[in-house]
């Protein structure tokens, strides 16, 4: 039973964060599951991560130049933060409000947008949407800076409704046009040119002279609406609450059909989503109560293997185990390379391919990405001197009997459960290598490789692909 509790906590931390090493699980062993949930939804109880060490060893993250360094810095934060849900919600909103760096090539505003999600990600729907509407990176991405009173550009107005709040089928083409008019004049300060000034931040400005001040009719309401009014109206709609709750359920609990199918396919668990909607509405759009309810629910606790890890989860979670990117990164490790790592698995952080974001769930996996995922995880355990692996070795004790090897390793990697066929294949390997002696330092040097191979096989399993 105690062990089940440990497995449940590990499950919670994989979903609400990016996994946990055994050391991290031990640190919270005196807390109940419910207390851990409360800690997660209140990240302010814990100190913010100090980036000084990272900056000393990876000086490029101090500059606003290379986007890859900052995507890597984000993964480093996922691995090392004491506020895992804060980073997870940042990723959640990034996935919903997908903004690609490649269009603007302006690193400071990309970083700024992620920072905004970090600050407001656990607050209130209305604030989150309003911050988004004023975000320079989004503004440029969806061309609202080209949305003029005499020549409206409806890109932002359309995606706000289709992809960021209500979903297809809940508004008309005319509503799109009216929303676009309401956001005319919402733009940003022209940033200084890159040369010779370097990268400088920009900020939102409302250009009143470019705002369409005439009457609009939006979702049946009439008035001289500005952008704030549009967001107020959107937030009154049940469709918006449903949309957000489906996203939360899809991201944290169980893979759903892709977003375009939502107007046709009902939620997998309508009862759960209905309750989440009620909680979100009765709390005026506050996110925390919904998350607390969700993480404490039975449907969440029973959702093992219902979600495929996204690449960030796979990479950050595996690096938590290997320990190569702890607060002080291991020798020669540059966090910037991690951007390429998640990108080849299909999730270029800060740089999604389109405004629709990534196809998630089992669509993370195809021949190419599975190849990358397996090889990456395996390669983290080629080096038997990595701190995470050494910790696993210590915990295995002086002698691991062949019959215990599979279970002991599965326990330390998760705990995770595997299916029968996986267990048989792993046991075959355990039998081949026999009992493993780890009593002395010489034994460890000699036999580390055998244990490492077992870990490599475990992180290659199908089961490991699930969050």
């Amino acid at each position: 039973m105690a062990n089940n509790n440990l497995a449940l906590k590990a499950h919670l931390l994989r979903r609400a964060g990016f996994g946990a090493s055994r050391f991290e699980l031990e640190q919270i062993s005196d807390k109940s599951y419910e207390e851990i949930v409360e800690d997660l939804v209140h990240p302010e109880r814990f100190e913010e991560i100090d980036e000084d060490y990272l900056k000393r060893y990876n000086p490029d993250v101090s500059y606003h130049d290379n986007i890859g360094s900052h995507a890597g810095r984000w993964i480093w934060r996922m691995i090392n933060t004491k506020r895992p849900l804060e980073e997870k919600m940042t990723l959640f909103w990034h996935q919903v409000f997908a903004t690609g760096y490649y269009k603007g090539d302006h690193t400071p505003s990309t970083i700024q947008q992620i920072e905004t999600f970090r600050e407001n990600g656990l607050t209130n729907i209305k604030r989150i949407l309003l911050d988004l509407a004023k975000d320079p990176s989004m503004n440029y991405w969806l061309d609202n800076c080209e949305n003029h009173s005499d020549q409206p550009n409806e890109n932002w107005g359309r995606e706000l409704l289709e992809l960021f709040s209500m979903g297809v089928g809940n508004y008309s083409e005319e509503d799109v046009k009216q929303a676009a008019r309401a956001f005319t004049g919402w733009t940003f300060e022209q940033p200084l040119p890159l040369y010779p000034y370097g990268h400088y931040e920009t900020k939102f400005v409302f250009n009143e002279s470019d705002h369409d001040n005439s009457e609009k009719t939006f979702l049946g309401r009439k008035g001289n609406f500005n952008g704030e009014d549009i967001i107020d109206i959107i937030c009154e709609e049940r469709a918006t609450t449903l949309f957000i709750c489906r996203h939360l359920y899809n991201f944290f609990v169980e893979d759903e059909a892709q977003v375009p199918a939502w107007s046709i396919e009902p939620p997998r668990n309508p009862e759960a989503v209905d309750t989440m909607i009620d909680i979100l509405m009765s709390n005026d759009g506050e996110i925390r109560p919904v998350l607390s309810y969700m993480f404490n629910s039975d449907f969440f606790k029973n959702s093992f293997y219902k979600k495929v890890k996204n690449p960030s989860e796979l990479v950050a979670g595996t690096l938590k185990l290997s320990g190569r990117y702890s607060v002080v990164p291991a020798d020669g490790e540059n966090v910037g390379t991690l951007y390429g790592t998640v990108a080849v698995m299909g999730q270029a952080l800060m740089n999604p391919p389109t405004v629709e974001g990534w196809h998630t769930g089992h669509e993370w996996i195809d021949g190419g990405t599975l190849n990358e995922r397996v090889n990456f995880a395996v390669n983290q355990f080629n080096d038997v001197s990595s701190p995470g692996f050494r910790d696993i070795l210590e915990r295995l004790g002086p002698l691991v009997e062949s019959v215990d090897l599979v279970d002991s390793c599965l326990d330390l990697i998760g705990p995770i459960e595997v299916g029968e066929e996986t267990r048989i294949a792993l046991s075959k390997y355990a039998e081949e290598i026999g009992d493993v002696n780890l009593g002395t330092n010489e034994d460890k040097v000699e036999n580390a490789q055998k244990i490492a191979r077992m870990i490599q096989l475990i992180v290659s399993t199908r089961e490991y692909q699930f969050a």
């Binding site: 080209e146 297809v168 293997y305 089992h362 021949g367 397996v374 399993t461």
Partner: protein
């Protein structure tokens, strides 16, 4: 066991993601309505690469025009479908599944690959280059290979010692090879893992055998098409290739953006066919270039918003070059939704054309119906 001869018809799809602006690809430069409606974003008569007295290519499409002049390009003017969906995501879904009225997870090329290789013996019958398998290629139970880096494709490649790598691969095979219905996603993982194992084994010869005098440019679409050429010339039985070029969502700054995309794309396509010709491997290859929708007729002062009807291209030696279907009317009362080019031919008819006239497959079960076809292939 399916048989593949070197001359079996091969089909290459190039997807231009984001919705390419057809009006500024093949420009109706003699029509005053074009300049009336494209006040800011127009290509002047002096700049177009004229192909007749009425239409001209965008100036950066020169390498593509060269193929056209050699009779290797059939232009499908006005491709689209009724009540075009302006969402990229949904629009692309519709093109990938041929299902505009429901959300389907069965890709049309998934169906094609299944029919070309019913037993699923060859995981290389369908090969995608790029990150992420397009829905067009996916169908439950149909093996396809998706390669992001051809030179490093293969499992456990980080385990240096060959003997240990082989051992790890064997255990991987044991773990993934035992699909016993433990849920659809778990089964999908099993299948995918086994396909990677066998696909990687087969495809590794492609980079080893390839030699060419063609120097492709250094950009993603050129790299992808070079990979297609490397695998095609290795004769591994691939019948369907897929790749894409992104960036066509030009709501703003279209003027500086679109030319670079055209330059990369048209050069890459030209190099690709030159490469195949050099290998005497171009007789059996037809390429389809498409985008999920065209763009609005009126520009917005900087770019163009999502529209409806657009253009597609069939390219290759077997193609009888020329203009097909009709260029959509620029007369205001003919505009779709009052703003867009109306389609003049359904994309499912063009798929049908390729299926029946090129791949020799029955179109109706794949495109779900009968749609008007064109006749773009040379008579043998």
């Amino acid at each position: 066991m399916t048989t593949f001869t070197q001359k079996s018809p091969v089909f290459v799809v190039v997807q231009l993601s984001g919705g390419n602006d057809f009006m500024n690809t093949l420009v109706p430069y003699s029509n005053p309505a074009y300049y009336d409606n494209r006040k800011f974003l127009n290509i002047s008569e002096e700049d177009v690469l004229a192909l007749d007295g009425t239409l001209g290519w965008h100036p950066e499409m020169a390498p593509f025009k060269e193929l056209y002049d050699r009779g290797m390009v059939s232009v499908v003017q006005g491709i689209g479908y009724p009540d075009s969906n302006r969402s990229h995501f949904r629009g692309m879904d519709i093109w990938h599944t041929c299902a505009p009225d429901e959300v389907s997870t069965i890709g049309w090329l998934g169906n094609v690959i299944e029919q070309l290789d019913p037993s699923g013996d060859n995981p290389l019958t369908g090969v995608n280059f790029g990150v992420g398998l397009p829905r067009a290629m996916s169908k439950a139970g149909v093996p396809v290979t998706s390669v992001s880096n051809l030179d490093e494709y293969g499992l456990m490649s980080g385990i240096a010692a060959q003997q240990q790598r082989d051992q790890a691969l064997q255990i991987f095979k044991d773990m993934y090879g035992q699909a016993v219905g433990s849920g659809p996603v778990m089964d999908y993982l099993s299948r995918t893992g086994m396909d990677v194992l066998s696909g990687a084994d087969l495809i590794k010869v492609a980079p080893q055998q390839y030699e060419s005098t063609i120097e492709y440019a250094d950009n993603p679409i050129a790299k992808s098409l070079r990979d297609v050429a490397r695998v095609h010339t290795a004769n591994l039985g691939t019948r369907v290739f897929y790749t894409q070029q992104g960036g066509y969502d030009t709501h703003a700054n279209q003027l500086p953006t679109q030319p670079g995309l055209f330059r990369d794309m048209s050069r890459a396509v030209n190099d690709f066919f030159a490469d195949l010709e050099e290998h005497d491997a171009d007789e059996n290859v037809v390429m389809l270039i498409f985008s999920e929708f065209g763009r609005r007729i009126n520009d917005n002062g900087s770019g163009t918003d999502h529209g409806s009807g657009g253009g597609a291209y069939l390219v290759g030696k077997p193609v009888a070059g020329g203009l097909y279907s009709e260029y959509p009317s620029l007369e205001r009362d003919k505009w779709e939704k009052g703003e867009d080019l109306a389609h003049t031919i359904d994309f499912r008819g063009i798929y049908g054309t390729v299926l029946e006239q090129w791949l020799g497959l029955d179109a109706a079960p794949i495109v779900y119906g009968n749609f008007e076809q064109i006749n773009p292939f040379r008579a043998n």
